[in-house]
């Protein structure tokens, strides 16, 4: 049984990102559940780990990185579904939607 509803987890994660990972040149309003956090330069590898630890703390259950593909946890909506043990292909609006990168925000180098 999920202790936290998916919508609440999404809100909580977005708030955490805005508080801890928002670069000085990005507007908080641009951070949505569908954007790719890596492609938009919000997270690098260490930032992604920080986010995973936060989500695990919220749900009280570990995310099994032996099974989960890294690309599936770079979008808040997908991450929250995985964290709660839900299938990312069965999203609430019936489609798995990932917004393209913001043009002027380069990725964080893709490096660790």
């Amino acid at each position: 049984m999920n202790l936290i509803p998916e919508n609440a987890l999404v809100v909580s994660v977005l708030t955490w990102i805005k508080e801890h990972k928002l670069p000085g040149n990005l507007e908080a309003a641009g951070i949505t559940e569908n954007i790719d956090l890596i492609a938009n330069g919000l997270l690098d590898s260490m930032g992604l780990i920080d986010l995973l630890l936060f989500v695990e703390e919220q749900t009280g259950r570990p995310i099994d990185l032996k099974v989960v593909e890294p690309e599936d946890i770079c979008v808040v909506k997908n991450l929250c579904r995985i964290a709660l043990g839900n299938n990312i292909s069965q999203s609430m609006d019936g489609c798995e939607h990932v917004e393209p990168s913001c043009g002027n925000v380069l990725a964080a180098g893709g490096q660790v």
Binding site: D44, L52, L65, K66, V67, P70, E71, G110, Q111, V112
Partner: protein, 536 residues
């Protein structure tokens, strides 16, 4: 020929020979595709022929703008197969920096992967020198031709219709194999041309030391703009092994990729261990397939080496060291869980011994040789040491020197502070200048500060690596003063226009005044202490 003598040949020959011996074995796994040596040789040969047919200038170099795609690898082989050196460009770098690299290299040809068409358009904006743009996966270049008529475009149709597949592999030993740009103190990227003989020396050493063969599965974790990628690509293909290019997101968390693909040879910066250690994935025997694990690019903490060794118990773990100017890596230390922890200094793994055939010396500021256990600057010499900087005789004169009793050969001044123990083992102690390593990438703080001055409209700027974990920096924090109306967002945006993401400060703090030390210089350590206090 003994194993350390330099073989004068084009480094593409290793691939070509493997493509004869192991034609139907896998050579490359990338972007969801698996290519045999035969599969990969075909597009490489076509590109080599096309480059030879369309060379509009006598430039010895051709650029490649492609990212983790078949074109990226076939393009490199094609360029080398045309007897030219390759200049890797990175779609993740700011356009202005890429444009500058393109301009400085003097390239008149560029191969572009379909994943980089957007970056190409940005690059061509304002690029005034005519180029031949080769698009092996783009069937129609009409819109590019219309928007940027200065340049000539060859589409996938032109590549396919070219029936020739010719490799021009005869090159002088000193011909450039690749030109890489590193951070420069003046704000201008600094070109390091690396010759075929430099690279072949490295390949010969590595292939002689490590038992690698056609059944091995190599990681390709580094971007092509990082010279450590040359090890993955050319050592793998020299031995007939298969190269596994990690997808962009797997680069961040590579553990699953290593296991799923049963990789046998891993190469990355140590910060990968730092990241994975926080995921609880590095449990004992998590990577049973690994036979070799190489780490390079930044200090390797003993605790991380131990952790990785436990996760890959069948793997030989090697700490490699080497600046770009000395070709990939030039010294090595073999980790051993039993005795190595006792050989570490300040919890950092030694950088070991120079490769056989290469030489190291430790000198004081007047280039006097120092004795064992004395700390000084590390100088390197040998067949892997490059001949200087691209079109920059002044920087070459400063960094490539001739010393005392070794007047016959140039020595590269690494700027690294090291010492040597009684057995000759080298220990890295730090830098003698303001160069830092950020997630394995080399960066000059002066270059960052040059951009910051313009971004912030004040000369009073300083940057410090932060946070630093186990000797490795994750990023940079900037401090400025003398600018009361600083808009941090605007300033960061400006930085992003000119600096690669790893060099862009994470934050810019405005202070009333920058703290000074007793010598009247900006107190960088004081600023770091300030950050430490804020963190706690």
């Amino acid at each position: 020929m003994d194993e350390w003598s330099i073989e004068l040949r084009n480094i593409v020959n290793g691939f070509l020979e493997s493509s004869e011996r192991f034609a139907s074995r896998p050579a490359l796994v990338v972007d969801g595709e698996r290519l045999t040596y035969r599969d990969l040789r075909r597009p490489a040969g076509k590109l080599a022929s096309l480059l030879l047919q369309t060379a509009a200038s006598d430039s010895p170099l051709t650029a490649i703008l492609a990212y983790r795609s078949v074109t990226a690898y076939a393009g490199i082989l094609g360029i080398l197969g045309a007897g030219k050196g390759y200049v890797p460009l990175n779609p993740k770098f700011p356009t202005e920096r890429t444009r500058r690299m393109m301009f400085l290299s003097g390239c008149s040809q560029v191969i572009v992967g379909k994943e980089c068409i957007g970056s190409l358009r940005e690059l061509l904006q304002g690029f005034q020198r005519p180029l031949t743009v080769i698009l092996p996966e783009t069937p129609d270049a009409t819109s590019l031709q219309k928007d940027f008529p200065l340049h000539r475009y060859l589409s996938s149709k032109d590549v396919c219709e070219n029936r020739d597949s010719v490799f021009e592999t005869d090159v002088p030993a000193q011909a450039i194999a690749y030109l890489l740009f590193t951070s420069g103190t003046t704000g201008e990227p600094k070109g390091v041309p690396v010759s075929h003989s430099n690279v072949q020396s490295y390949i010969n050493y590595v292939c002689g030391r490590y038992d690698l063969n056609e059944t091995d599965r190599f990681s390709q974790h580094f971007d092509l703009t990082f010279d450590l990628s040359v090890h993955d690509i050319f050592v793998a293909w020299e031995r007939g092994a298969c190269l596994y290019s990690l997808p962009e997101k797997a680069v961040l968390l590579p553990a699953k990729f290593i296991r799923d693909n049963a990789l046998t040879a891993w190469f990355s910066a140590p910060s990968v261990i730092s990241v994975l250690s926080k995921t609880k994935l590095l449990e004992p025997d998590f990577f049973p397939s690994l036979r070799y694990s190489f780490f390079c690019g930044e200090p390797l903490a003993a605790s991380y080496a131990q952790m990785w060794q436990n996760a890959g118990p069948h793997s030989i773990v090697e700490n490699l060291y080497g600046p770009t100017e000395t070709t990939i890596a030039i010294s090595r230390y073999k980790w051993n869980n039993n005795h190595s922890p006792g050989e570490c200094l300040n919890g950092i793994c030694p950088i070991g011994w120079a490769f056989a055939g290469q030489r190291s010396s430790i000198v004081d500021p007047d280039f006097n040789l120092l004795s064992r256990n004395q700390a000084g600057e590390l100088l390197l010499s040998g067949s892997q040491v490059t001949s200087g900087y691209w079109n920059d005789s002044e920087k070459t004169r400063v960094k490539f020197v001739r010393i005392g009793s070794f007047e016959d050969t140039p020595w590269y001044r690494t700027g690294d502070l090291v010492k040597q123990d009684g057995s000759g083992c080298l220990y890295y102690l730090g830098r003698i200048d303001d160069q830092v390593k950020i997630r394995g990438y080399r960066a000059e703080l002066q270059e960052i500060e040059n951009v910051l001055r313009k971004a912030c409209g004040t000369d009073q700027v300083v940057s410090v690596p932060w946070p630093v974990r186990d000797g490795c920096a994750d990023g940079v924090i900037a401090f400025v003063s003398g600018q009361e109306t600083l808009d941090e967002g605007d300033a960061l945006n400006y930085c992003r226009t000119y600096l690669p993401s790893y060099m862009v400060p994470q934050r810019i703090y405005a202070l009333d005044a920058l703290p000074l030390n007793v010598n009247g210089k900006v107190d960088r350590r004081g600023l770091v202490r300030m950050l430490e206090r804020v963190q706690t």
